[in-house]
């Protein structure tokens, strides 16, 4: 009964598991790429819908965790061996293990080891020597980062929920909950940083759910009622009023238009009529961004079927009357088309990227300047054999050369006891 769990553990914690799973996904991707150009998007959708692929994806964080546990155990065992715990068999943890039939004491090699810059811990039947700093912490941080990355991808891909809605000045915050606070103000300013060209602030009044005053920017995204507020595009919420000679009554509608920056056109279709209104923010004479200043003038173009019947310029709040047509924008407000995203995988992925950075910062100098080199000589067992172990994380040639010379010295000592 113990064999099956052990087999499962060995499979899960094997270094081949993650590459194999990734290989399967690559093959699926290649297969999809033969059929469609949007292979990545199709693959993501396929993973969300297919139970087997979900399980396969879940295997990545599980295998990483198992690998992390296994390597922590190895690291602990290695430490216990070098500190003199006789209960551990170290052969599998070292690069080389040699048995020598010699009675020579360790005193003869101690000085040689010390002159090479190694630190020594000596006990009655045991001599451990090491030099440099182990990269094990970097390795463990790396594995932790990988675990975070896979977990983040899994959570993000499977559990992400997203809702896109317009955030309009004076209106309640949209979102999954219908109880959002009123958007008091949307401000856009020119950014001063090296990355963002704009600085956006969305001020929201306290909501009925007990939330306090909130303010959201572009990055990092703020959290509102458990969802990230991710501004996507800017636009204007317009109250459009329109009448035509051949229409009964006046058409009036609130339109949310994605029409930023100035010059970008947006359409308003007048229902049950051949009319279509195309509007855009006019380029201001002063060169300032109308979204920032709030002084908005609109270019309007009215088409009937395929013919343009009216065009002109209309200031916000104004009216355009010509040839029996009347177009008015009595109300206009700033709008930010925003995604409300519930996705906790983001934290894991950012965490993973930070951990990778830390691991690299630790590993690189240690590997280049202070690679860990270890030796262990243990006397015991039948015939008082000496078992010698060696492992190295860098500068392998010089360490191995020293190790082999020490073995030679012990071997010579067999002929000349005490030498």
């Amino acid at each position: 009964m113990k064999r099956l769990p052990r087999l499962c553990w060995n499979l899960i914690s094997s270094p081949f598991t993650c590459p194999s799973v990734i290989g399967i996904f690559v093959l699926v991707y290649i297969g999809i790429a033969f059929i469609t150009d949007d292979a990545l998007i199709v693959l993501m959708e396929l993973v969300r819908r297919n139970g087997i692929l979900v399980l396969l994806l879940a295997l990545l964080p599980i295998a990483s965790l198992a690998r992390l546990i296994k390597e922590i155990r190895c690291f602990r065992s290695g430490y216990q061996i070098s500190t003199g715990d006789p209960s551990h068999d170290g052969a599998s943890l070292f690069d080389e293990a040699v048995e020598l039939e010699t009675a020579a004491p360790f005193d003869g090699i101690e000085e040689t080891i010390r002159t090479q810059g190694y630190t020594i811990r000596k006990e009655e039947n045991r001599l451990a020597a090491w030099r440099g700093i182990t990269h094990a912490p970097a390795r463990l941080i790396f594995l932790l980062a990988t675990l975070c990355l896979y977990s983040g991808i899994f959570i993000s891909l499977i559990f992400r929920t997203s809702y896109r809605g317009p955030v309009i000045e004076g209106e309640p915050m949209p979102g999954l909950s219908q109880d959002g606070g009123i958007v008091e103000r949307i401000r856009l300013e020119n950014g001063k940083g090296t990355i963002l060209s704009k600085r956006l602030t969305i001020d929201v009044a306290p909501s009925g759910q007990g939330g306090g005053q909130a303010s959201f920017g572009i990055y990092p995204p703020g959290l509102y009622q458990g969802s990230f507020v991710y501004p996507r595009y800017l636009g204007i919420a317009l109250l459009v009023r329109f009448s035509a000679p051949d229409m009964h009554g006046t058409f009036e509608k609130h339109a949310v238009l994605n029409m930023y920056p100035a010059g970008k056109e947006a359409e308003v279709q007048i229902p049950e009529s051949p009319y279509k209104l195309v509007t855009s923010l006019a380029e201001p004479d002063d060169g300032l961004d109308p979204y920032i200043t709030g002084r908005m003038v609109f270019n309007v173009k009215l088409s009937k079927d395929k013919d343009v019947v009216l065009s002109g310029v209309l200031p916000g709040g104004g009216e355009l009357n010509r040839e029996g047509y009347c177009i008015a924008f009595p109300d206009y407000r700033r709008m930010v088309l925003t995604d409300f995203i519930q996705d906790y995988g983001v934290y894991f992925i950012w965490g993973a990227l930070s951990l990778y950075g830390i691991a690299l910062l630790y590993w690189l100098p240690v590997r280049v300047f202070f690679p860990r080199r270890e030796m262990l000589f243990v006397r015991g067992g039948i015939n008082d054999m000496v078992t010698a172990y060696s492992r190295t994380e860098g500068r392998e040639r010089s360490h191995n050369s020293l190790f082999h010379n020490l073995l030679d010295m012990l071997d010579i000592g067999k002929i000349q006891p005490g030498g």
């Binding site: 292979a39 060209s197 996507r232 010379n405 073995l407």
Partner: protein, 439 residues
């Protein structure tokens, strides 16, 4: 002419056979027989494909086989890199494995070589001649192999690298078998989608909020250069992994030897042999480089006439006569340029294999409007190097040139100037202004 075209393939096959014989120790004769048998099978298989299927499907199947061989090389390379963790090494040995590998390599080499005969009709004779030459070359390679020094060792991963590199080199000689150009396109698309998805997943702001000079750098990830460099990574990484696996193969344990000189001698011999084992892998790198070069600078000359300037009548009708200085029915691509109000639009007319005239923009809906050239039963998008079979020109989607409404009359073709300008504006606006353009 066909014989000249086949020479590089024959040389490739001879070198493949040479490496197969050296790489497998199961018996020279067995490798030669199975390799030659595979070559014959591949050549005959290609003949059957070209007889039964339309050329594009037949080429597609052979190209698919080449793609699978590249994937297998990836598998071999990853396993080689993981070799230190690999406890058992006898999975891929034995006579059966040798025969299978030699046969598969021969099969692909035969199919690639035979695809060069696809334009010479469906007569059996050239294929039989090719098979005989293939067999003779394999035997010759077997004889030459005896004269190669013993130190020239070909390990399993190196053998796979050389064989696949030579197969891909052979495929790069034919536009319709070339893998590198379609790979660049796929990588370009992947990079675009990946960056987009990554930014959305990480909630990184869109270009509206990012400084334009910074966005230019991000825009590099959407250009065709990323496709080229990404494809190079996919192309060469398996070989580099194999080189890495050989170069950094752990030294043998010599701790049990109590003579320093003997230890040093053993290690020196190992390092010496290790260097020799790098030679085939490095040779494969060279061959693959040549394949990339052939793909990027094909010897095929594209038919790409200078666009003829046309004008519209006062009612906006552009008329192209069917016969005149230019014969629209000659099966060649004919380009035209129309100018109006400071703007210009390019289009071309071509008679497809079905005998119908087609009018399309000299641009597609997803690439920058670099235009098209014509070669070997296809038109090629200059931007992304995608080959579009002639019988699909006139259909919309993907990298196909954008179809244009036109009316065909006895005297020629009539196109509406407004429609042309609108289509051109829409297409060019989409492909040059959105996120750095490209797929």
């Amino acid at each position: 002419m066909i014989v000249i075209k086949l020479i590089p393939h024959a040389v490739s096959w001879a070198v493949i056979a040479l490496f197969l014989v050296r790489g497998f120790h199961a018996g020279r004769l067995m490798v030669i027989i199975s390799g030659s048998g595979g070559f014959a099978l591949g050549a005959l298989g290609a003949l059957v494909l070209f007889r039964l299927l339309p050329p594009e499907s037949a080429f597609g199947i052979i190209r698919g086989g080449l793609g699978v061989s590249l994937l297998l090389l990836w598998g071999v390379a990853v396993m080689a890199a993981y070799r230190p963790f690999w406890k058992r090494t006898t999975y891929f040995e034995g006579t059966g494995f040798t025969v299978m590998c030699a046969c598969l390599a021969g099969c692909m080499a035969g199919a690639v070589s035979a695809s060069r005969l696809s334009g010479s009709g469906t007569s059996l004779a050239p294929y039989l001649a090719l098979i005989l030459v293939g067999g003779a070359l394999a035997s010759y390679a077997g004889a030459v192999e005896k004269r190669i020094p013993e130190w020239f060792i070909v390990g399993g991963p190196s053998l796979a690298a050389v064989v696949v590199a030579l197969l891909l080199y052979g495929s790069s000689l034919s536009l319709r078998l070339d893998l590198f150009a379609p790979l660049t396109m796929k990588v370009m698309k992947f990079a675009h989608d990946f960056v987009h998805q990554f930014m959305e997943s990480m909630l990184i702001p869109d270009h509206v909020f990012i400084r334009s000079n910074l966005w230019k750098y991000i825009g590099v990830l959407f250009g065709k250069e990323i496709g080229f460099w990404g494809a190079l990574v996919i192309w060469f990484t398996p070989l580099l992994l194999i080189v890495y696996a050989i170069q950094f193969e752990p030294l043998p344990s010599v701790a049990h030897i109590r003579q320093g000189a003997e230890r040093r001698r053993l290690l020196a011999v190992f390092i010496h042999i290790r260097r020799y084992r790098l030679i085939p892998a490095l040779l494969a790198v060279l061959v693959l480089t040549a394949a990339v070069y052939r793909s990027c600078v094909p010897s095929v000359e594209y038919w790409d006439p200078k666009p003829i300037v046309v004008t519209a009548t006062p009612v906006g009708d552009i008329f192209i006569p069917r016969k005149g200085d230019i014969d629209l029915e000659d099966g060649k691509l004919h380009k035209y340029l129309f100018r109006q109000g400071g703007k210009e639009a390019r289009f071309f007319i071509i008679m497809g294999p079905s005998g119908k005239l087609t009018v399309v923009l000299d641009a597609c809906a997803i690439c920058k409007p670099d235009g098209y050239g014509q070669a070997e039963g296809t038109v090629i998008c200059y931007y992304c190097k995608t080959l579009i079979p002639l019988d699909t020109v006139g259909r919309s989607g993907g990298c196909n040139p954008v179809p244009l409404a036109f009316s065909e009359k006895d005297d020629g073709v009539h196109i509406n100037a407004v429609t042309l300008m609108n289509e051109w504006d829409n297409t060019v606006q989409t492909t040059t202004k959105v996120k750095g353009a490209g797929k």
